[in-house]
Symmetry: C2
Subunit: 307 residues, 2 copies
């Protein structure tokens, strides 16, 4: 099934305890479309870059089967740039630089060929822009998933809630769930957030796994205990990508399939953190992914009686 991905395509400069990079390719939609290319055939990208964005990187996305017709190139402007430094525990980071550049006036134009959109992934962006994308689709997709971040809760809570009300699945982390709901208990937070509209909520807990809530149902996906987390940048986007593209690839939005989708999202995120930026998401093969998913099964499977 076709998956429409919207989000940033950008430059990042990252510093971790293991090293630092110059400007490398990043952005939510870059991670999402690359990771999604492993699970569904038709990935349609909507984003904007400046004239400084290398054509070779756009070619790389196309080599992964990603349709870049909706990638606007503003020749006389600069691409979005983010720079950050991770603390030693890798669970927190400081933003050093944020240059919005082309994102400042991003008008998300949906090419006509994207209008058959079955699944929609709204990567982290201003909630007003995310809402515009939904409004510009002639038919409602089968499933709309949305990522966001605390930044929008600080400066645009009302527009954010309006957009959240329109989506099927909200994907946020534990801190964001607490801020959005005003509740410390994630079980209570989940109820309050689902009352805003989304039937399904995923709360990502980083190294502690992820919780999938739907009505009264709850599923917990563990995270692999990794010896090294080299660079967490993009792990959340990659998780969301694995989730929605697995659903799109199977064309099955049942709760049982969402459980599998969360496991596939977790597996893809576990690859993402092994190298700087998107490096590990390039050129994976099905055998590697299957092997990683099997590790998640081995990690959490038990039988109540001897079999």
């Amino acid at each position: 099934m076709s998956l429409l991905v919207i989000g940033s395509v950008a430059f990042d400069a990252i510093e971790t305890p293991f090293g630092k990079t110059d400007k490398i390719i990043g952005g939510a939609a870059t991670y999402i479309s690359l990771a999604s290319s492993y699970f569904t055939d038709k990935v349609n990208l909507v984003a904007v870059v400046g004239g400084d964005f290398p054509k070779s990187e756009i070619q790389l996305l196309e080599n992964h089967g990603i349709n870049t017709e909706g990638l606007q190139i503003k020749e006389n402007e600069k691409s979005f740039f983010w720079s950050g430094k991770y603390h030693n525990d890798m669970n927190s980071r400081d933003t050093l630089v944020t240059e919005l550049n082309v994102l400042e006036n991003f008008d998300p134009i949906i090419p006509e060929s994207y209008q058959d959109c079955d699944y929609l992934m709204l990567g982290n962006l201003a909630p007003q822009v995310q809402k515009t994308v939904i409004e510009r689709l002639e038919k409602r997709p089968k499933l709309i998933a949305m990522d966001t971040m605390n930044f929008w809760m600080d400066i645009a809570m009302e527009p954010l809630k309006e957009t959240i009300a329109l989506v099927d699945v909200l994907i946020i982390n534990d801190e964001e769930a607490r801020q959005l709901s005003g509740e410390y208990s994630l079980a209570v937070a989940a109820k309050k957030i689902m009352a805003l509209g989304p039937k399904t909520l995923i709360i990502k807990k980083g190294e502690h796994g992820a919780l999938l809530f739907q009505e009264e149902k709850v599923f917990f996906a563990p995270a692999l205990p990794l010896e090294v987390v080299f660079d967490p940048t993009g792990a959340g986007d990659t998780f969301a990508a694995g989730f929605i593209s697995y659903l799109a690839g199977q064309d099955d939005v049942s709760f049982e399939n969402m459980k599998r989708a969360v496991i596939h999202g977790s597996a893809m995120a576990s690859f993402c953190v092994e190298k700087f930026g998107t490096a590990k998401l390039i050129g994976l093969n099905q055998e590697q992914i299957d092997e990683r998913v099997q590790q998640f099964i081995d990690l959490s499977r038990f039988d109540l009686v001897n079999t």
Copy 2:
């Protein structure tokens, strides 16, 4: 199979955001022996209390089938007393009062009738006392599990390591694992800690579940996403109790059975936090426990293909 439990039997005064208690019954060995009584018949307690400890509370332990022959009563001394206050997030607490009293010179005397000990649970105590218990057993138990805390790492690291070297299973929390190993990654910490001696390591992560390590194998048990954690006191002891008493009840120390034991420990801990102190561990029935264990299965079970 018989389970020997050693640890504190004491008074606690607890303050949480939900309320506060006067002196109530607490102590690691109280939680461990009460929770263990649901899984194995023969629970033998070794501990010490002062003359101030109510006979009715000893009777309550006996009503749960716990053998208190090894509970020393120092008529002219006072019982161990701990008082603490939990922060709003329930994940951290301040110790307000610690009065060692009878624990200061605790000599763990093992009654002759306890010498058939098959399983040994060393609750949190000075590591030298824990070691003395092992030395005083005429035959080595089939399995020795040990709890400890950061306090002993601060003031008695060498005796602690000597005791750790003698046990089969070490049960500690994530912060303690990091302090003991000097490693942030729990996967790396686990390897270093198992190199100290224990073939099996359990790292408790509170609301984030627990990890079971053995050689190259790893198993992750989730925690239930609870709406209310009323009082976390004793949750770690109760977890350890569920673990070792399930092994003792089944008399099976295979890795597969340890997975089930970790789930049973998690289930018992999830009961413990629902009320102040030991209140919730009194008078549970098998149906309630089975139902809770089933919730853990439902929480983490998925099938890779439709069944």
